[in-house]
Each structure stands twice: as C-alpha cells, then as structure tokens.
C-alpha cells in the first residue's frame, strides 16, 4: 500500500494571525510550523504501517505552498514519511479551497496512492473541507473527521461523530480520509529522525509538472473572491480574574454569581 499524507505549513500557534490590509491575504510572516492537526494524519499512516494488516511500501508527504513549506515536509519526514513532494509555484498563490484541492489532487494523482490522509483542519485556513474537494477530483470515496480507522485488506472501517451520534462507515480503497485529532496521540520525532529528515528524497514540482491548468488556480482565477475583510463587531469584554489567591478568587466568583442570582 502507498499512502500520501497532505501536510501544510501554518503560522505557529503563538503567532497572532492577521490579514495584510494591502493584499487582503493572510500575513504569512513570522514563525511557522507543521499544522498540528496533520501530525495525527502522519501518525495514522505510521500506525497502519506498524499494524501489520497490510504492508505499507511508502508514506509520501505532500504539500502545496511557498518555499518555506519545505520545513513542514522535513517535520513530516521526521515523524515517519519516507519522502515528500513539494508543489510550489507562484501561479498557485492565493488559491481558494476549491483551487487548492484541485491542485493538490493533481499532485497526488501522479503518485497513484491507495490511501490519502489529511488533518481535520488547517490551523490558518480552517476550511475542514480540502479532503472532500481532493476526493471529488480523484474520483475516490471519502470521509472527514474520522476518529477510528481499521484496515481490512482493500477497505477501511471508519468511525466518526456526525450530527446524530457515531457513524461507522465501510470505505473501499483507494480513498481520501481526513482524520480527527482524537484518532491518536502523535509520537515525538527522535533526534536521529530530525537530523536525517533533510536527507530523504524531496521532489519539488511546479504546476506544469503535474498537469495543473493554471487558468483554474491562483487568487485571480479562484471562483470564490475575497472582496473585503473587516473587523468583527466589538463586543463588551468580559471580566477577567487572574487566580493568585484562590480563596479570594472563589469569593469573587461567588459574589459575581450571587449578584446575578445564580446561586
């Protein structure tokens, strides 16, 4: 079995995210990291490999992003991927969800994987949907938010929480699965794996290399157009107490609740 894992470079959780008013796009300066949700997808791939039900020949990390995104690939490789593919092209900048999913599907198609894994959401884009877009382009069955996945030779038995409780769905491979963060506890990379990550094969490709029609991608060609970004309506800030002396803190909470007749 060959598994492709989609990973993304996102601003580090500690960096305040903002829109650059001059371009209307996200300000991508500052510290970056591998999208934490994607580490669960890599871990899921590793657990299939180590589970022994099927033999996993290759785990390939795939990203679309600027030059700096190679660091997310290195991280992915240190967590277990065997090699990586970096789709990088100025023509892709500013692509919306649909265009990003289309471009990623093209890059994945060339790899002919049996399984494509994604994280449940990107920390910056928060679209929750790239998996569904990629699946449609690849003509594969798919499911998002999967929290349990058992491999049964040519199929997967997946569980997830949907609107009315837990669903169990049987999916034939090849398939596209986005995993929820409850699926596993990602491992930490070993120092050796971190050191060795840069030596693993990394294939950098441009739009033309994977057959992307550039009239369908990039900010200007995307079907959803950002026309403006504005500040949300200001709301009255709540009262904040820093707990230093817990007895005092509790007294304040009780007084606050009492004032509102909640006790």
């Amino acid at each position: 079995m060959k598994i492709c894992v989609l990973v993304k470079e996102v601003p580090d959780a500690a960096v305040e995210k903002r829109i650059d008013p001059s371009t209307g796009r996200m300000d991508r300066s500052g510290e970056k990291n591998l999208n934490p949700y994607d580490t669960h997808a890599i871990e899921a791939a590793m657990q299939i490999r180590e589970g022994g039900v099927v033999s996993v020949e290759e785990i390939v990390a795939v990203t679309m992003g600027p030059e700096s995104a190679v660091r997310a690939l290195h991280k992915a490789v240190s967590l277990g991927a065997d090699r990586s593919v970096h789709l990088s092209d100025q023509a892709l900048a500013g692509s919306d969800v649909a265009a990003t999913g289309y471009a990623l599907a093209k890059a994945i198609d060339r790899e002919s994987p049996d399984l494509v894994l994604l994280g449940q959401q990107s920390d910056d884009g928060e679209c929750y949907t790239i998996g569904a877009v990629v699946a449609e382009h690849l003509g594969m069955p798919s499911l998002t938010q999967v929290i349990k996945m058992d491999v049964e030779s040519d199929a997967l038995r997946c569980e997830r929480q949907a609107e009315y409780g837990y669903d169990t769905v049987q999916i034939q491979l090849p398939a596209v699965i986005s995993v929820g963060d409850a699926i596993n506890e990602p491992r930490y990379p070993s120092l050796k794996a971190i050191m060795g990550a840069k030596k693993k094969p990394l294939d950098t490709v441009a739009s033309g290399d994977v057959g992307i029609d550039t009239s369908k991608v990039g900010g200007d060609n995307s079907a959803a157009q950002w026309i403006a970004a504005k500040a949300p309506p200001a709301k009255a800030a709540g009262e904040i107490i820093e707990d230093e002396d817990t007895a005092e803190t509790v007294e304040k909470i009780v007084a606050w609740l009492d004032e509102r007749k909640l006790i």
Binding site: A132, P141, A162, Q172, A224, I227, D243, I253, V254
Partner: protein
C-alpha cells in the same frame, strides 16, 4: 433564473433544525434575487409529507432523491444532477458536518466557488455576498462568487428557522445516477449513542468540562460543583472528551452535539473552539476557568478566571454549598 437549492438533512422522520434555518434563509435570499428556494432531500423512502413540510419554511418546491442516507457523495451526485437542469444560481447548506462535505464536493464537481462557516449572507445587485469569520473570528471576510453557481455553507445556528404557515410544498422526484466513487462507501451503523443517556437540556445551570480536566475522573469535579448548585444543574462536555470516552455523547455541546442556552454555563478546562461555542454562546451567563490566558473562550465569556481548575473547583464547590446553606 436565480433559484437557490437548499440541502435539507433529515434523520428518523425529522428535518434537522439547522436545515430548517437554511431553508428559511434560502427563501429570504431567493425572494431578494427574484427567484425561488427549492429544498432537496435524499434518502431511502423519504416520506412525502416530511418533504412537503418544508413548504412551511419557504421552500417553493422540494426535490426528493432516492439513495443511501448519511453520506455526502450521493448528495453531490444528486445536487449536481438537479443543478444541471438549469435555473440554480446558488446552493445553500446549514451548519453541519455533512453540509461541509457535500458543499465542498459539489464545488469540486461544478468548479464552483465555496465559502464555509458563513455567518451572514446578503443580496446585492442580484448576487449573493457571504460573510465568513476567519482567523479565530478576529476578522470577517466578505466573499463573492464568479462561478456560475456559488456555494454557501453556513455556520451552525447562523440561520434562523422561520415557519411561515405557507403550507405544504409540491414534491418532485429527482432521478440521478450514483457515481462510481459514491457507491464505494457504505453506512454500517448510524447515529450510535455512546455512553449513558443523560438529560441536560432542561438544566438551568450547566457545569461543562473539557480536556483540561486531564482524565475521565476529572469529571468528578464537575459533578460535585453541579450538585452544589442543586437540582437544576447538570454536567456537559466537549467533543474532545466525548471522543476520548471520558463522558457520554448525550452531554456533548456543539456542532455535532447539542445546542443549549442555560442561565449559567460554567466551562472548566475548555478552550472555546468555534465548534463548541456555536452550541453554547446563547447562554445567559458564561463563566470560564482556564490556565491559558490566550484561550479563545476568554474572548466571549462574561467572567473569565485564569487559573488551574484543580485548585479552583473544589473550593468553589465548598463556597457554593456554604452560600446555599447560609
């Protein structure tokens, strides 16, 4: 014609409340565009009366497609078939997991623009403009569409259901072909309820616990505080802890759980992710205890305590008991 096709989720003979909201919103927007809102339902033997009942929420017509329930890709096929007949300018979805998947799949199929987590939509010059909060709701982006069909996926509870009393809508059968990949997923079991069947909806006070409780046993702190408040208090939970098996699904608040609005919602060890927030933001008073002063919950609570719940909750329980006894 500028018609709007609205997806309606149904289960066990009832239409999902968020879908009713989407139909109402679709009807409002279609009227502004000079078109009609049509709803679409897919399932095995969908009762005609159930489909027709969407007329009461503003659907001018309801399409019913026969297919496997609870999966997204059959609906992508069905909605694409309906749209290929012409007349639709937008497809609209209420907030929910399936809506996200169907809307995204449909965008890929049609080469359409899509906006998700939409909190408000307006019609301007015969086009729709969607508002979507981004970056942890610190900004709102406005999105317009330049594809033939635009796709709008709402945030949970963003659209209000309004019964108009218009009566039943005409129901039409929609025939469509299931694509090869859509037939490769099979529902094995649907809507399994995990854990005890607790009732939280009537409670005036909810003490909710999240991953910050550290382990399943951490819920004891919530139970003790809830019982200190008395009979009208119950314990609720986030998806993170429900998925981890720490607490029953029936007590989960949020996008794939319940929507509640108690007098007091006390959140302990909960970060305040948007999917949780949408299920409890209408609570009259929100109190949060969290060690991380940057946790999103501090952006929308009424009283926030930056501190360790293990230190605060036992003392708070004692103090509430003493106050009630005194």
């Amino acid at each position: 014609m500028a018609n709007i096709l609205v997806y309606a989720l149904h289960y066990n003979g009832a239409i999902n409340k968020n879908s009713l909201g989407a139909v109402s919103e679709g009807a409002r927007l279609a009227a502004e565009l000079g078109g009609e809102a049509h709803a679409i339902l897919l399932g095995e033997n969908v009762p005609e009366a159930l489909a027709a009942s969407l007329g009461d929420y503003g659907a001018a017509k309801v399409l019913v497609a026969e297919g496997p329930e609870g999966l997204a890709q059959p609906l992508v096929d069905a909605m694409a078939a309906a749209i290929s007949g012409g007349g639709y300018k937008y497809a609209l979805f209420g907030g929910g997991l399936l809506g996200f998947e169907i809307g995204a799949g449909l965008a890929a199929r049609l080469g359409a623009g899509v906006a998700m987590e939409v909190t408000s939509v307006r019609a301007e010059g015969g086009e729709l403009i969607a508002e979507r909060p981004i970056l942890g709701d610190s900004a709102i982006s406005e999105i317009s569409y330049r594809s033939e069909v635009g796709i709008v996926i709402g945030r949970l509870n963003a659209f209000e259901a309004k019964a108009t009393g218009a009566g039943p809508a005409p129901v039409e059968k929609l025939s469509f072909e299931l694509s090869a990949h859509a037939s490769k997923a099979k529902m094995v079991t649907r809507g399994e309820q995990r854990g005890a069947d607790v009732d939280i909806e009537g409670a005036e006070i909810l003490v909710a616990g999240g991953r910050g409780l550290g382990k399943a046993e951490g819920f004891e702190l919530c139970h003790e505080l809830a019982s200190a408040f008395g009979n009208n208090a119950a314990v609720a939970a986030t998806r993170a802890v429900v998925d981890a098996g720490w607490y029953p699904y029936a007590a989960q608040i949020g996008q794939t759980g319940k929507t509640v609005a108690p007098k007091l919602y006390l959140a302990a060890g909960i970060s305040g992710a948007i999917q949780h927030q949408v299920g409890m933001q209408s609570s009259e008073n929100i109190v949060a205890i969290n060690t991380d002063s940057n946790a999103p919950i501090f952006e929308f609570c009424d009283l926030g305590i930056v501190g360790d719940l293990n230190k605060i909750m036992p003392k708070l329980t004692e103090a509430v008991k003493a106050k009630r006894a005194g």
